[in-house]
Amino acid sequence: MAGPAVQPGDPVPTPSARRPVPVWSQWLGTAVRLGLAVVWGWAGLAKIADPAEAAQAVRAYEILPEGLVKPIGYALPFLELALALLLVIGLGVRLVAGVSALLLLTFIAGIASAWARGITIDCGCFGGGGHVDASQTEYLQEILRDTGFLLLAGWLLWRPRTRFSVDGWLAS
């Protein structure tokens, strides 16, 4: 699943004569990678303390059937922490960025759906969640924030090679 698809029929694989990635971009990539790691780490830790609260944050979207509410609410913080860990060490950055982008797109879709249906909830992105007063919804800010995070993931999808990463160490 990582990188371009393997083509067994290709007799002459292209050698590593790719366009070299400038050094500044690798350093910027490290900053982006660690930035996204902080986002996932923060989001995961904020959701982990109270399982019932995490489940209610999921339930409040009124999208998933009751049977999936708890598994998703319980697993999500651990998934986020795993992504944070992988980003910190820089292992499989392109794949991790891809999973991050998918997750963020799912979150944005969920928030947009709640907004469109007129439900009044807190996104529960960084803990909390559940129903709030109509005057306290912040859908636009939440979507913009997640879009910002999505840009970080997009950068890493485009330029996964970064300094101080296990990926770089394995390739050398």
Binding site: P13, P51, D167, L170
Partner: protein, 287 residues
Amino acid sequence: MSEKNREGKRTARERMLEQRAADEASSRRRKKLLVGGAVLVVIAAAVVTGVVVQNERSKPETPVAAPAGTIGDKNLVIPTGSANAPAVLTVYEDPRCPACGIFEREFSSTIDQLEDAGKVYTNYHIVSFIDRAVPGKGSKIGANALACAQDAGHFRDFHDVLYRNQPEETNDAFGNKAVLLNLAKQVNGLDTPAFESCVNDGKYGGWVSSVQQDFDKSSYKSTPTVLLNGQPIYPKNGSEEITPANLVKWVDAANQGKQLGTTGSNGQAPAPTSTASEANNPSPTAG
């Protein structure tokens, strides 16, 4: 050297280079597959761990221990007033919720009177979700203290004292057990070692979580939620605004032609010594 020979040598060298390139490419592919596999294993392990660990950590929806005298199929409801009163007033409240404080300070004496007149049987659901939105633990610790007061047979009085002394929503005074124990001194007979250890040990923490989980699954989304015989009456009953006078009027209208319940119980059910699992425990001897 003949042309032919040179041709042959070059092809051999080219073939060797090609072979090396092919080897390098396949080694890169193998590495990529290994890294991708490792990433997926980490992610899958995290998801499975999350479900197992959080399932283990989460408090059950049916409480292991409930305060004495609680009612309902899971003993999540604290009743006040006499069980044989014809009308049921259902109240969902969070100890930290400011609107609940406003409601209680305006209505608690009216509700107490309705209870003592045998007109309503009040069912309290003490929820604790403000802690999720506002930093602190005052909802949970306050709800536990209310459960302890119920266990001691002093729920109604302590409940009224708490709401009269409710701090600002952002002030987590109820998260401080000493504050709650101090307030308990205002209730005759509540300031006992048993109550103190019940509050300090968070004895009914699991029950508090069960009550909240029950609320999470309900269709009610905010507090206070107030129902008269199942019909929402807060902030309005139909087009009529709730006021103490209107509440009395609505209760009397609902009770018309019905036998009133036992009067004068002060709503203070005596605390049965056993963990009362029997629902609807009437309390004619209280007073």
